[in-house]
């Protein structure tokens, strides 16, 4: 069993009308287990495409994508579905079901994983207390509270990989605090965290930054220090 999350020349093409769109081109990187990584880039850089690949929602067009001991492109549909139970995804594309209560919504991943009612109830209660979420109707929640609930849903089924896409940027003034929460939780639950952002100052909070531009990963030099090693001045210079 490997302890790395590794992409080897991963490319992803989408068919948009009759013109194929190259969302990712020969992306290669390696992340350690338990690391916190920011996926930095502007709009249409390919961040969401990479997150979807890592979440097991889509398959690579070429290349190999290893998530610890699983090579995602070689998985069957059933195996891919099983893999998704190990991933926590906090993203706007994960729908909230209006016919269910908030607690029922966040319990769904755990139910799918086969937990009993008691286990589900206890786990949800534990995370709700930890994240200090407030009950209520979904449409009446503040953006931060909604994302906290989303975080409960992403963590409820004991994932090993936590992916956060298009969330922190939408929180405006609360973004830094939320990012800090993400990092704290990742450390607490020994998760491998990958979050996307367009804001460099938020990206700087992570241990590692992967920068995407027009589907290509900008490779840092081996000697280039990672943000965790930089002094505050150096960080400001980077930003």
């Amino acid at each position: 069993m490997t302890d790395t999350l590794r992409a080897v020349n991963v490319s992803k093409r989408y068919k948009h009308a009759s013109t194929p769109v190259l969302a990712l081109e020969a992306v290669s990187f390696e992340l350690g287990r338990g690391s916190s990584t920011a996926l930095f880039g502007q709009a249409l850089a390919g961040k969401t495409a990479l997150v979807h690949l890592l979440a097991g929602l889509e398959s690579v067009s070429s290349g190999q994508l290893w998530v610890f001991d699983k090579e995602l492109s070689s998985l069957s549909e059933a195996e891919r579905a099983n893999y998704r139970r190990e991933v926590g995804l906090l993203s706007p594309i994960v729908p909230w079901l209006s016919q269910f209560s908030l607690r029922d919504n966040v319990a769904l991943p755990l139910l799918v994983a086969g937990a009993s009612r008691r286990e589900t109830h206890e786990r949800v209660a534990e995370l709700c207390a930890l994240l200090e979420v407030e009950d209520g109707k979904l449409e009446a929640l503040s953006p931060v509270m909604r994302q906290r609930w989303g975080l409960v849903r992403a963590l409820v089924h004991h994932p090993t990989l936590l992916l956060v896409d298009e969330v922190v940027d939408a929180l405006s003034g609360e973004a830094e605090a939320f990012t800090e929460t993400l990092l704290t939780l990742a450390k607490q639950f020994s998760l491998t965290l990958l979050f996307t952002t367009r804001q460099a100052r938020l990206a700087a909070q992570a241990e590692r930054i992967l920068t995407l531009r027009q589907g290509k990963l900008l490779q840092p030099s081996p000697t280039e220090p990672t943000p965790a090693n930089l002094s505050n001045d150096a960080k400001r210079q980077f930003l």
Partner: protein, 730 residues
């Protein structure tokens, strides 16, 4: 585990949709169960109550010539192979006069014990003429008016008003010479009927037509088939409505279910797993709804005890039919939704178009039908029609069957606690003793050929076997009060007379009576007067030892078993039939109808009607909800809003319009429903058209009450449905 939990959570949050899907399914399964049960039960009842009493006549010969056949043919027919018994038959239409009024009747000449001055009449005629045993009647004959005394009142299977008299008397009055209209034949071996038929036709050479019992029962069979066809139509209609309503419920929840499936896919369910979950959910929903339907059906039929042990087969058939319907609904429901998980996961692909052509067409048809408001309106109308039909049928049937029961129960033969066994040959002593000793049997007596008294008067002689004749039936008795009737009658030549005989022949206790017996004239003493027991209304009763000594076992033919209070007549009949059939293969029970069973039959039909009423109410409400949820009705509301009406005025306008609209619809449906019920019931009863005006006022009031109730309920539903949107916009 996760399937059950997910299914439970969805149902808990969407109880309305769940009920909307469950109730039609439960209804269809329940109706299928009830209809199948009634279908099989009515077929069996037809066998037992109609065919079996006719079984004594396997074939009927009717003379082709108006002059009839000579009575001498009887000897010829009796010598033919496979002919067990030949009974000459003579029918004539004539008039009977009573209190200055004329009544059309059918006169039958039979070889009975009646003398030429007495007649027997049917119970229906007795009620019509308001005549009792012992009273006179005048009969119009070609020889002029003839006066007869009514000696007995009996139940017949003929729908006509019937008078029975001795064959010789009717021949003398209505025919020239010893002619008869035909003969009733009883076969030794019923399986060889067709062979016997061939021999008969050859022998008769066109002199008579041979009629089988099937032809005689055609009218009853026609009614039975009509009832059964109506049952099938009810089941098919309910099934059709269920399928349409299911399609609607599934279609209206498609969008939110798609979102749900997409989410579950992201959480780790593959497409096949989602499809399997869908199957699980469908099977659970249909299964639970079917159980609910079966439970309701069982409850409604639980009190029916007309069926004996052989109806276990009926129960199996009924259950199987219901389960087949349930399975069909399950397959249909799953067929509507199995592709939806795939569509949810890959929405860019139109899975409908990728389905096999037949599935695609099937889906298009059922969902479009389910979405159409006009279909819901049709369903609503049909439901209201069905509802009012049931109400009308309920009241009509109650009044009609009550009247029939009253007529039937006045017949002294159809008593509550008796079994009549008719055989031309006496039962063995052992068999008779065994029957008499059954704990369910209070006492048993058998009928003998008529006995001639002094002055040529003729009456019936009965012999009783049970050692203890119930003292409750004894009106007065010679000797000490503690003496039983058996003790009194077995000492010397003593007999008991019925109240009617005592009145008719002016007899009293202690009086001596000379009777002509096979061994000569004998003098008897009247030792007791007993109350008119059904079947023994007119006759003399002797104890068996006296009978054996003086009448030497001559011509016992009728056995009447009076049962104890606690005995179940049908069970005793089944038991005795089983015992008797071993020695007497052709044995059958005559007039095996019992008051308790008749009342139970009435209750069954009443509960049926109530169950169907409830079913139609549920269907109407469900269909109405579908109507109000359609875009067309929403547009009507929007139009009102555009005109800027104030809230109060708007509500008044809406309520008035709706009330008027649904009043019209409900009234039309009620009229149609009542008309249908009347038509159906008139066919069933073969009655004329005037009786509908004889319905009690309460039945019309009930119809109107239910109609108003439906209007209020439907209007409330509509206003409640749109109250939020109205308040939101205004």
């Amino acid at each position: 585990m996760w399937r059950a939990q997910l299914t439970y959570r969805y149902w808990r949050t969407q109880p309305g949709k769940c009920l909307g899907a469950c109730l039609p399914i439960a209804l269809s399964v329940a109706l299928t169960f009830l209809a199948t049960h009634l279908y099989l039960g009515s077929s069996q009842a037809y066998q037992t109550l109609v065919l079996q009493p006719l079984n004594k006549v396997d074939l009927q010969l009717l003379a082709t010539s108006d002059e009839g056949m000579y009575g001498t043919w009887q000897a010829v027919l009796e010598n033919l192979p496979n002919i067990a018994r030949v009974t000459p038959v003579l029918h004539r239409q004539t008039l009977v006069l009573r209190e200055g009024k004329k009544f059309s009747v059918e006169v039958q000449g039979l070889n009975t014990h009646m003398n030429n001055e007495t007649i027997g009449i049917s119970a229906a005629l007795a009620k019509r003429l308001n005549v009792a045993v012992g009273e006179p009647l005048e009969l119009a004959t070609p020889q002029g008016l003839r006066r007869y005394k009514v000696a007995s009142i009996s139940q017949t299977n003929s729908p006509n008003d019937v008078i029975t008299a001795s064959l010789e008397e009717i021949q003398a009055l209505f025919t020239s010479g010893e002619r008869v209209d035909g003969f009733d034949l009883q076969l030794t071996d019923k399986t060889k009927r067709s062979t016997t038929l061939t021999v008969l036709q050859k022998q008769l050479n066109g002199l008579a037509t041979v009629i089988t019992p099937d032809k005689r029962t055609r009218p009853v069979r026609t009614v039975l088939l009509t009832v059964q066809n109506v049952l099938v139509v009810v089941v098919v209609l309910s099934l059709l409505m269920t399928l349409c309503l299911l399609a609607h419920v599934l279609e209206t929840s498609r969008k939110e279910r798609e979102t749900e499936r997409r989410a579950l896919h992201m959480f780790g369910l593959s497409s096949p797993q989602l499809v399997r979950w869908q199957l699980y959910e469908t099977a659970t929903l249909v299964g639970l709804a079917s159980l609910l339907g079966l439970g309701a059906a069982f409850y409604f039929t639980s009190f029916i005890t007309l069926n004996d042990i052989t109806n276990f087969q009926n129960l199996w058939t009924t259950l199987t039919t219901s389960l087949v319907v349930s399975l069909l609904i399950m397959i249909y429901s799953f067929g509507l939704v199995w592709w939806q998980p795939k569509q949810a996961i890959t929405p860019e692909q139109n899975w409908l178009r990728r389905l096999p052509v037949r599935s695609w067409l099937f889906w298009q048809i059922v969902t479009r039908l389910g979405q159409r408001y006009w279909l819901a309106v049709v369903v609503l109308l049909l439901s209201l029609t069905g509802l009012t039909s049931m109400v009308a049928l309920l009241t009509m049937q109650r009044s009609s069957v009550t009247a029939w029961l009253t007529t039937t129960l006045e017949n002294p033969v159809l008593a509550e606690r008796q079994l009549h066994l008719q055989e031309e040959f006496p039962l063995s002593d052992t068999m008779r003793w065994n029957m008499a000793m059954l704990p369910e049997v209070a006492f048993i007596f058998s009928g003998v050929k008529s006995v001639i008294m002094e002055e040529g008067l003729e009456t019936g002689l009965y012999v009783f076997d049970k050692p203890s004749f119930p003292s409750a039936y004894v009106q007065s008795i010679a000797g000490a009060a503690s003496d039983t009737l058996a003790e009194v009658l077995s000492s010397g030549r003593k007999l008991a007379v019925s109240e009617t005989s005592a009145t008719t022949f002016h007899l009293e206790v202690g009086q001596r009576l000379r009777l002509t017996t096979p061994s000569g004239q004998r003098v008897y003493e009247v030792a007791a007067i007993i109350k008119d027991i059904p079947g023994l209304a007119d006759g003399l009763l002797v104890e068996r030892s006296v009978y054996l000594r003086d009448w030497q076992r001559s011509s016992e033919g009728l056995y009447v078993l009076s049962l104890e209070e606690s005995a179940q007549p049908r069970e005793v009949a089944s038991l005795l039939r089983e015992q008797l059939s071993q020695q007497y293969p052709g044995v059958s029970w005559h007039g095996a109808l019992f008051k308790s069973e008749l009342e139970r039959l009435l209750e069954t039909s009443l509960v049926w009607c109530r169950a169907l009423m409830l079913a139609f109410v549920l269907l109407a409400v469900t269909a109405f909800r579908q109507v109000v949820a359609t875009n067309t009705v929403r547009q009507v509301f929007s139009t009102f809003y555009i005109f800027g009406s104030k809230r109060q005025v708007l509500r008044r306008i809406l309520l008035s319009t709706l009330t008027l609209m649904f009043s019209v619809i409900t009234s039309i449906a009620m009229l149609v429903g009542t008309g249908l019920s009347y038509w159906f019931f008139a066919r069933l009863e073969q009655s004329d058209s005037t009786w509908i005006w004889q319905l009690p006022l309460s039945s019309y009031v009930l119809c109107i009450f239910i109609g108003l109730g439906m209007i209020m309920l439907l209007s409330y539903q509509l206003m409640k449905h749109y109250r939020f949107s109205l308040e939101g916009k205004l």
